[in-house]
Amino acid sequence: MHSKINQSFKKGFTALTFFCLTLILTACGNSEDAQKVKAALDVNTLNITSLEVSSPRDIMEITATEPFTAMAIIANGTKAPINISNKVKWSSSDTGNATINSSGVLTGKAIETLSVTVSAQLADLTASKEIKLSNAPLERIDILTNPSPVSVCRGGYQLTAEGKYETEVGEAEDIRTITDLVTWASGDQTLLKFGETGVFSTYKDGTTTVTASLNTIDASAPITINDDIDSIAITAGSDTVNVGSTLSFTATGTYDDTSTADITKNVSWISDTPSVLSVSNDTATKGIATGVSVELANISATCLSSEAVVSNEALITVKVLPVIDGVSINEGTANLEFKIADSPEQLTAKLTKSADSSFGKVVTDNDNISWSVKRTISGTALTVSNTKGSKGEITFNAVGITEIEIRYDDKDADEGPFSDVIEVEIVAN
């Protein structure tokens, strides 16, 4: 009897083995399916109702590259759109003549003029844009919106370049904005430097020339930089910094015409004691000071103009780094939880006014919860993170009382919006 049962089951097992083998071999578990599922989740969690695709030009050269941008329209446009160019799946209607990479950059491979449709897909939402690949040669470059003369030690001056392309007799003019395609060059890097495409900053007064070039065609324009800075005032978020920590300074320039500008990136920063507090003059980190050793140090800024205007001095105390991790405050019935980051050890956070006990839906990292500082009641405000992964995390570096607002809005469940305010006081130990 036992043997018969075994024999029957063996047949069943054999069938089951082949069945499972078929199932597993036909499975094509891959990252593409994972992307599909995550895209569907993104659409719903971000409340994306449609997509929009754009690019700087409607016509591009046949072997050039063109960056495309995919924007998510949130809640039918009632909220600010979000750039999701790195989340969507890009495709080209004619991969033989133009390919597009995962970042949305289209690369032309055509040999004659044609049109290609670029599409972006996120879950079941799609959007597209048609672009013409033209083999018309560039005839001329024009530099537009030349702001000369400009002020010394000031940034954000934008130049624009237009390209005029050859057309057949009777065709409409082919003029394209090519600010991002041309190579911008300064005639004198000590006076003027280019940052992002066509944007320049000035560092010294004088006259120089800027050049835009593409495909052996170029155009130039003179730029005059006036020595019109009147004064520089520097400020910092704090008058103390820990050893190993950084402190950002801001420089504000006042000009002869009484206008003011943030010139943090255009001045030269000076520390009177770099062994205590160093300050960076590198392009990316200009005006950021780093505590080196415990002591006092003065920071100032100067513009390298003919007048050599120097700012006020900021006296900074460099202190030993305090470390506190893992402190949390639980607010009983409302299930509120804060996480505290980078708080000086001589300070403590405490709730001074509880949330309404009926407001019991707060979960720190829930997508439906948003955290924000509502107002500063006294002293120095703290900051609260609303970034996924660190929601509800508060950071503070001085005493004060701050109101934090928590909003709950679950559109899918049609719950909310609810909101409540709690008060957090930072006190000295």
Binding site: N6, F13, C20, A34, A40
Partner: protein, 174 residues
Amino acid sequence: MNKLLPIAFLSLFSVGFASATELYGEINTSYVFSKIESEKFNPLALEARFGFYLEQQVGLEVYYGAGLSDDSQVGIDLSLNTLAGVNLRFESPETKDRMKIFVLLGYGMSEWDVDRSGTGEPGKVDFDDFSYGGGFEWRIDKSKNWFMNVRGQSFLNRDDLNLSTGSLGVRYAF
């Protein structure tokens, strides 16, 4: 590469099965813990397992499961269509209280049906990955053949996707 592993497991299973004398079958009801990024879905599933012992405390089993219910989060409806795979089962000796623990190592696949806000998209998706787990098992009363067990097993853990189950099952050793 991934597909060579189940082939190897199942070939081993087929060859071993032909000469096996100690066989077993098992039914589990499972609470599914699946996670897509930060959203958690908890459908229910039913699994059937069949296996045989390669050695006294080493078994080789195949399993097949299907979803009993679906779950929805943020407008995404998720149901588990299929859960299938192979495990090596390592058992501890049975204690005098008729209890033993076991560890599972194997490879499995799962097919999900995902529906965004009633659009039917993205539809059926499937994944395969190494699986592992373990549990406790009690011989029911003084029966020679019947066992009750509690097990946990992870089937998928990559690309911000997770799938694991907590199961209550009954096993019969032939």
